[in-house]
Amino acid sequence: MSARVTVLLFATARQAAGTGRLRWPVPPAGLSARSLVRSLGERFPKLEPVMRTSRFVLNGSYLTGLARRVRPGDEFAVHPPYGGG
């Protein structure tokens, strides 16, 4: 089995991808969050517009940009706008 990251998809992101959790293959050295988001959008076209208004969370920390490197074993979450209450 190749190197993978866990991708968590919530709410409209989950609906767009048809699943809430993916084991996503990545290069052994990892890739930028930008590249990961792009490849997810290519695989799930309906997810692409959802991600444009989403926040991203890497291993429990909010990303402020997409430059950060995502490595095998990391957890990458897609958060559409919140709607609790």
Binding site: G20, V57, A77, P80, G83, G84, G85
Partner: protein, 135 residues
Amino acid sequence: MAQAVRELEGPGLGGVVVFAGRVRPDRTRSGRVERLDYEAHRALAVAALRELETIARRRYGAERVVLWHRLGAVPVDEVSVIAGAATGHRAAAFDAARYLIEQLKATVPIWKGERSRPSRPRRRRPVGRGGRSAG
């Protein structure tokens, strides 16, 4: 809500404000809401709720705080969220409770999905057939 009130009791606390949000039977394109399914990024949501409580204590002098949110299926007219604060004085309790509920809605990773027919709570996949209208 009764339990929230108990948690907000304590010596010297002059003002208690409790907000409870209930699921409303709103009309939607597919009929009338029968229940909401709440999902959360659990670890982050719990941390965010605790952090809001801490901020409410510091900023408003709230001595006791509750901030609870149900997950999974919540039927119409049941309480889904409670935000409460107990302070020495009245105005701060209102401000703290309002801060808590508004920040919860804006910053805590919880989402709701409208459903018009029953299915199991917190499932990972949406219902395939789209749901029949109940209203």
